[in-house]
C-alpha cells in the first residue's frame, strides 16, 4: 500500500555530534552570570519551576502542602514570583486544583501510564482524559520507548498525536522522551523530531525516575530540534528539562543555553520550565544571599 506522502520519514533525522555538543556546553558553562543578571535570572527560574511530587506515597495532605508552598515560596522576601505549575499524578489533580484556587498557578498531570508508558493506547487516552476531567491545565505524557527502540517511529508519532487530540487546544501537552533511556544524542534528536511533528506543546527530557535525567547535552539537542522545527513551521514549542537540576548555578546555565539557542522569546514560563522539587529552595537561598549579602541556613527555607 502506498504511504501517504504527508507522513514524514523519521528513520532519517539530523545527526548530532556528542563532542561538538560538549564543546558548545563548555562555552555556556564558562559564562559568568553575576550581579543584576544573576538576580534577574534567578527570579525567572523561580517562575519557571514545575514544582513536582510524583511518589507512590503521595497523599492529599502532601499535595496540599506542596500547593501552599507553590504560592508562598518565601514570604520573608516580598515581591517574589510564584512557580509556574504544580505537577502531580492524575488522581491528585482535583486536590491540587482546589488548593491552588485562583492563584494562576497551573496544574500539570503526568499521564499515559507514567513512568514506563507500557500500556494500551485506550488506557493511555483514558488516563489523559481523567486528568483533564479533574481539571489539569497541562498533561505530561511519556512516549513508548519500547516501540521507539523497535523502530516503530510512526507508532510513537501516532500515539502522541492521539493524546494531543484528547488534550485538545486548551490543555497543553508536554511529551516526555525519557532521554536517559534513548542511548545516544542522535536518538534524542529523532525522538524530539517525532514529538514536535506530532503536535506536542512542550518536549520534556525525563520522568525523573531514570538516571541520567535532564542533562545539558540532552537539553541542547532538544532545543536545536525546537529551533529547526520553529524555522520550518513557524510553530513555537516549549522545553522542559526535568530531574537532576537541583542548584541555581546549573539552572542559570540552562537558562542561558535557552537564550543563546532560542533567543528571548523562550524566556518565560510559557515556553521554558524546570521540572524540579528541590531547585526552588536553592534559588531562594541565592536570592537571599544577593539581597542580604549572607548565606542563610537551609532551615530558614521551608521544605514542602
Amino acid at each position: 500500500m502506498a504511504k501517504k506522502t504527508s507522513i514524514r520519514d523519521f528513520s532519517v533525522t539530523p545527526s548530532v555530534d556528542q563532542v561538538g555538543i560538549n564543546d558548545r556546553i563548555t562555552r555556556i558553562q564558562k559564562r559568568s552570570i553575576k550581579k543584576e543578571s544573576k538576580m534577574e535570572g534567578l527570579k525567572m527560574i523561580l517562575n519557571m519551576i514545575d514544582l513536582t511530587t510524583l511518589e507512590g506515597a503521595d497523599t492529599k495532605g502532601k499535595v496540599e502542602q506542596l500547593c501552599y508552598k507553590a504560592q508562598h515560596l518565601h514570604d520573608a522576601q516580598p515581591g517574589l514570583p510564584t512557580v509556574a505549575a504544580v505537577c502531580v499524578y492524575p488522581t491528585f489533580v482535583g486536590v491540587a486544583k482546589k488548593a491552588l484556587g485562583k492563584s494562576g498557578i497551573k496544574v500539570a498531570s503526568v499521564a499515559t501510564a507514567f513512568p514506563s508508558g507500557h500500556s494500551s493506547l485506550e488506557i493511555k487516552k483514558m488516563d489523559t482524559q481523567i486528568a483533564i476531567d479533574n481539571g489539569a491545565d497541562e498533561v505530561d505524557m511519556v512516549i513508548s520507548r519500547g516501540r521507539f527502540h523497535q523502530g516503530d517511529y510512526n507508532y510513537v508519532f501516532d500515539e502522541i498525536a492521539a493524546i494531543k487530540e484528547v488534550c485538545g487546544k486548551k490543555v497543553r501537552l508536554k511529551t516526555i522522551l525519557e532521554t536517559g533511556e534513548l542511548g545516544t544524542l542522535d536518538r534524542v534528536r529523532k525522538a524530539s523530531d517525532i514529538a514536535l511533528h506530532a503536535g506536542s506543546d512542550f518536549i520534556k527530557t525525563s520522568t525523573g525516575k531514570i538516571k541520567p535525567a535532564a542533562t545539558l547535552p540532552f537539553t541542547l539537542t532538544m532545543l536545536e530540534a525546537i529551533k529547526d522545527y520553529y524555522y520550518e513551521t513557524g510553530i513555537q514549542v516549549g522545553m522542559k528539562p526535568a530531574g537532576g537540576i537541583s542548584n541555581s548555578k546549573l539552572a542559570l546555565q540552562y537558562l542561558l543555553m535557552v537564550k543563546e539557542t532560542l533567543g528571548n522569546a523562550w524566556l518565560s514560563n510559557e515556553w521554558f520550565r524546570y521540572g524540579a522539587s528541590s531547585l526552588a529552595n536553592d534559588v531562594l537561598m541565592q536570592i537571599m544571599k544577593q539581597e542580604t549579602g549572607n548565606y542563610q541556613s537551609k532551615d530558614y527555607f521551608s521544605i514542602d
Binding site: S15, I21, D23, S32, Y230, Y231, G263
Partner: protein, 490 residues
C-alpha cells in the same frame, strides 16, 4: 497562504552583567630591559618603545629595542652557556629545569593569562583556558623527552645543534614562545628569542620564570625589538638554527637570508584553511566548529578556518544557523570573562582587516555582521561573513588574519577537494561529515599539514603542527618537533 516571517531575536532581553577579571595581582615593571646571560641588560642604543593595550590604547610598559650589538651579546651569551654548561648536562638534568619552568608557569597561570590579554587583546577566556595551560603543557611534554631522545630516534646518534635563533609572532605570544623554547632546551640547545614587538610582555615574564627556575645563565636569552632586531638574529653567523613563526612574506625573506649558510630552518607561516561541511554533517555542531575555526583569537590564527565550503544542498540551513549563532557572540573588553571576541592586536592589523572588508564589498560579495555592540575606544572588529563568493575573490585567496569568513558552496567531493587545495597555502583544513569513510578519503587528499575531522582548532603538545607549500616547512610539537632541534646521524 502567506508564510509568516519566522525570526529569532537574541539581543537585549536578559543580558549578562560585566564580569571583568581582576588585574590587581599583576606585577609589571614600567620598563623592561633585554634578558641576556641571565641578567637584565640595557640596550646599547638606549632606545625603548611602548607596548600598548589594544583594548584601550594605553601604554603598559616600555620595552628595550635591541640592535646588532645587543643581538651579538645575546648570541655570545647563548654560545657560552651552550659550550660550558647546557651541552654538558645530561638529558635528565635538562629535563628537571624544564619541568621546573612548567610548574612555575602553572603557579603563575592567572597572572600570565591576564598579562596576555592586556598586551595582546585576546579574550581572557582563551588566554586562561588555552594559551597559558597549553604553553605549560608544551614544557611538560618536552621535559619528558629530554632524557629519551635516543628512543625517539632509534639506531641514530642524536646531537644538539648549538644556538637557536627564534622569532615568534603576536597572535599566541606565550604559547609560541613555549613551542620554540621547550623543544630547543630539551634537545640540548640554547636560544636567543625575539618575541613580537606588539606583545613582548609574557615572553619577558617567562624570562623571570627562567630566573626563578634557576636555569643556568645564557641558556635562554630574550631580545626585544621589531623586524630589524629579527634580521640581526637571522643574519648572525654564530647561530645554527632559525625557527620562525609569522607571515609568509617575512618567511620568504628569512629563507633567502639563510640560503648558502649552514643554518637549519623551520618556518611556520600563513594559511587560508578550508573548512568543509557536507550535507550529512551534524550541522549545529559544524556551525559551532566554524565559529571556533574563524573567530577564535579574533581570527588571528594561522590555521584559522577562513574559507568555508558548504555543500549546496544544506547551504541555506547552514547560513541561517551561522547567523543565529553569531548573534550571541560578545565582542568587547578582553578581560571580561564573557567576552568571545576581544580586541584586534594592533591598529595596523585592524587597518588590514578593514581593507579586506572593503575589498570584499567592492568585489560584490554579500556581507553579514551581527548586531552586537563594539567598544568605541580600542581596536575592535565585528565578526564578519562574506558569502556569494568564488575562488577568484581576493578575500578567498589572501590571508586576512582577522574575524572574516569567506563562504562558498560546492557540489561534489572531487570539486571541494580541488578547490580546498587551490591555494598557495597548506596549513590546515576541517572536514564535517557523519561518514567515517568520507573523512578518510578527504584527509588523504587534502594537502594541509593538519586536518581536523568534526572539530576545529584543537591543539596538543603531542601532536605535530606545520604546513605545506607557502605555509612553511618543518614540524613543531610532538616527536616530529624534536628533529627540528637535533642533528641526526645514522
Amino acid at each position: 497562504m502567506a508564510k509568516k516571517e519566522v525570526k529569532i531575536e537574541y539581543n537585549k532581553g536578559w543580558d549578562l552583567a560585566p564580569a571583568p577579571e581582576s588585574t590587581s595581582h599583576i606585577k609589571l615593571k614600567k620598563k623592561y630591559d633585554l634578558f641576556i646571560g641571565g641578567k637584565w641588560v640595557k640596550p646599547s642604543s638606549g632606545k625603548y618603545f611602548d607596548t600598548i593595550n589594544p583594548a584601550n590604547e594605553e601604554v603598559l610598559a616600555k620595552i628595550a629595542e635591541a640592535d646588532a650589538k645587543d643581538v651579538d651579546k645575546a648570541v655570545k651569551a647563548a654560545r657560552k652557556a651552550y659550550d660550558t654548561v647546557w651541552s654538558k648536562l645530561s638529558g635528565k638534568e635538562r629535563g628537571k629545569y624544564i619541568y621546573r619552568i612548567a610548574r612555575i608557569m602553572q603557579e603563575q597561570a592567572r597572572e600570565l593569562a591576564v598579562i596576555e590579554s592586556l598586551d595582546g587583546g585576546k579574550a581572557i577566556r582563551e588566554s586562561r583556558d588555552i594559551d597559558v595551560p597549553l604553553a605549560a603543557n608544551h614544557f611538560f611534554y618536552y621535559a619528558g623527552w629530554a632524557d629519551k631522545l635516543e628512543f625517539a630516534f632509534p639506531n641514530r646518534e642524536v646531537k644538539s645543534l648549538g644556538v637557536a635563533g627564534q622569532i615568534t609572532p603576536w597572535n599566541f605570544p606565550l604559547l609560541m614562545v613555549a613551542w620554540k623554547i621547550a623543544p630547543a632546551l630539551a634537545c640540548g640547545n640554547t636560544v636567543v628569542l625575539k618575541p613580537a614587538e606588539t606583545t613582548p610582555l609574557t615572553a619577558l615574564k617567562l624570562a623571570e620564570i627562567c630566573q626563578q627556575a634557576g636555569l643556568p645563565d645564557g641558556v635562554v636569552n630574550i631580545v626585544t625589538g621589531a623586524g630589524a632586531t629579527g634580521a640581526e638574529i637571522v643574519n648572525h653567523n654564530d647561530i645554527d638554527k632559525i625557527a620562525f613563526t609569522g607571515s609568509t612574506g617575512v618567511g620568504k625573506i628569512i629563507q633567502k637570508a639563510v640560503a648558502g649558510t649552514n643554518k637549519k630552518v623551520t618556518l611556520e607561516l600563513g594559511g587560508k584553511a578550508a573548512n568543509i561541511i557536507f550535507e550529512d554533517a551534524p550541522l549545529d555542531q559544524a556551525v559551532e566548529g566554524v565559529i571556533n575555526g574563524i573567530f577564535f583569537n579574533q581570527g588571528h590564527v594561522c590555521c584559522a578556518g577562513s574559507r568555508l565550503f558548504v555543500q549546496e544542498s544544506v547551504y541555506e540551513k547552514v547560513m541561517r544557523k551561522l547567523k543565529d549563532r553569531m548573534e550571541s557572540l560578545i565582542v568587547g573588553d578582553p578581560l571580561d570573562k564573557n567576552t568571545d571576541i576581544g580586541a584586534i592586536n594592533s591598529k595596523e592589523q585592524l587597518n588590514t582587516i578593514k581593507k579586506y572588508i572593503k575589498i570584499g564589498k567592492e568585489e560584490g560579495a554579500e556581507m553579514y555582521q551581527p548586531k552586537c555592540a563594539i567598544p568605541k575606544k580600542g581596536y575592535f572588529c565585528k565578526p564578519t561573513l562574506f558569502y556569494n563568493v568564488a575562488q577568484s575573490n581576493r578575500i578567498t585567496q589572501e590571508e586576512i588574519f582577522g574575524p572574516v569568513l569567506a563562504i562558498q558552496t560546492f557540489r561534489t567531493v572531487s570539486e571541494v577537494i580541488s578547490k580546498a587545495n587551490n591555494t598557495p597555502y597548506g596549513l590546515s583544513a576541517g572536514v564535517w561529515t557523519d561518514k567515517g569513510s568520507k573523512i578518510f578519503n578527504m584527509t588523504s587528499q587534502l594537502r594541509a599539514g593538519i586536518v581536523w575531522a568534526n572539530t576545529y582548532n584543537k591543539f596538543d603538545p603531542a601532536s605535530p603542527f606545520g604546513g605545506y607549500k607557502e605555509s612553511g616547512f618543518g614540524r613543531e610539537g610532538g616527536m616530529h618537533g624534536l628533529s627540528a632541534y637535533l642533528n641526526l646521524d645514522s
